[in-house]
Symmetry: C2
Subunit: 203 residues, 2 copies
């Protein structure tokens, strides 16, 4: 697939088929993830592939609890607003069906990267983006989630993470029920400044 076709149609896909994902596709997706840059090429990432039904069930229960605690109070408000209702319903569907998603990928980083503060993300989220784009190029849907952090200790214990690791994303992956499409974004002209803050230009 053409690069721009992939990059401009990788929207969050939260309704996924339960069909199993072949190993070879996962290798391709994960190898592409590792082609991303990291500070000093330290490659501080690890990817834990979770396909075991019992493990997915436990993570899904923690995820749903985190979803209810975080977004439950905003439910009526988000559903009342057309611009947030679609995303809310789709995220709500994922939270209630995470156990049925065939593959969950937990992305971790060595904690020593945090000495750099929030810039630590520069050594992990480029790889996460590569992962999601590569998945989309092979026809798989993903979405970048972090809600598992509300049950971080339980997730770490379940998967046996050592003390020096931090979890940075949990990526559900599977064939999507919906269609890939351009994600809703504000016009690029509004977020690009030329030479000085606030100086926009027409395209």
């Amino acid at each position: 697939m053409d690069f721009f076709d992939v990059a401009t149609t990788t929207r969050a896909m939260r309704r996924l088929h339960p069909d199993p994902v072949p190993d070879e596709d996962l290798w391709t997706i994960l190898e592409t993830a590792t082609m991303a840059a990291s500070g000093g090429n330290t490659q501080p990432w690890r990817f834990v592939v979770i396909r075991d039904a019992e493990a997915r069930k436990r993570i899904a229960a923690w995820y749903l609890d985190a979803w209810e605690k975080t977004y439950g109070p905003a439910r009526e408000l988000m559903r009342a607003n057309p611009s947030s209702a679609m995303t809310y319903n789709s995220a709500n569907h994922l939270a209630n069906h995470l156990a049925e998603v065939p593959v969950l990928i937990l992305v971790t980083i060595r904690k020593d990267n945090f000495r750099n503060g929030p810039i630590a993300g520069a050594s992990i989220y480029p790889a996460v983006q590569n992962l999601m784009l590569a998945a989309r190029a092979l026809g798989y849907g993903t979405t970048l989630t972090t809600l598992h952090k509300l049950h971080d200790a339980e997730v770490k214990e379940l998967l046996g993470l050592p003390e020096d690791q931090e979890t940075m994303a949990l990526i559900p992956l599977g064939k999507p029920k919906g269609k890939f499409a351009r994600p809703p974004r504000q016009p690029v002209e509004r977020v690009v400044y030329w030479e000085k803050w606030g100086e926009t230009r027409a395209r």
Copy 2:
């Protein structure tokens, strides 16, 4: 270009030609950046495109100072080791020639994202990765740098950033002198675990 050809040959390009970059290519690259996901689709990013020669000269001087302070002490050690010498020399070249790079892109995020801790990066570095991949698809070299943070206050003042903004990356962009190629990475089998931490598998 094919997606996988782009994603597996986007290595750090630090030797760049000074030739100007057409606006239309920058629009394409930046629009692709904005196709990335962000928490709750808040799109908290701004991109400041810097092509003014005087601004580039000032930023380059701060960058070189940061480079010398951070990596100067390790110079001999890094040059003595073949595995780090090439990267050191290339990064040293960039630090000494940043003013000649035709375009610098400063990527910023709203500070309120930091209430999420290091996960804030999840709402900005996917866009940065899209930016670098799109640049490569159009034949431009980039590299993700953060050394400007040592002179963050000066950079913010020069470009007029408001109080609520944080700088997350400075991306030099231009036609590369070297060739795009697969970046040096450890085998994917070593960084992927199956079901449990540490459980590797042969591909």
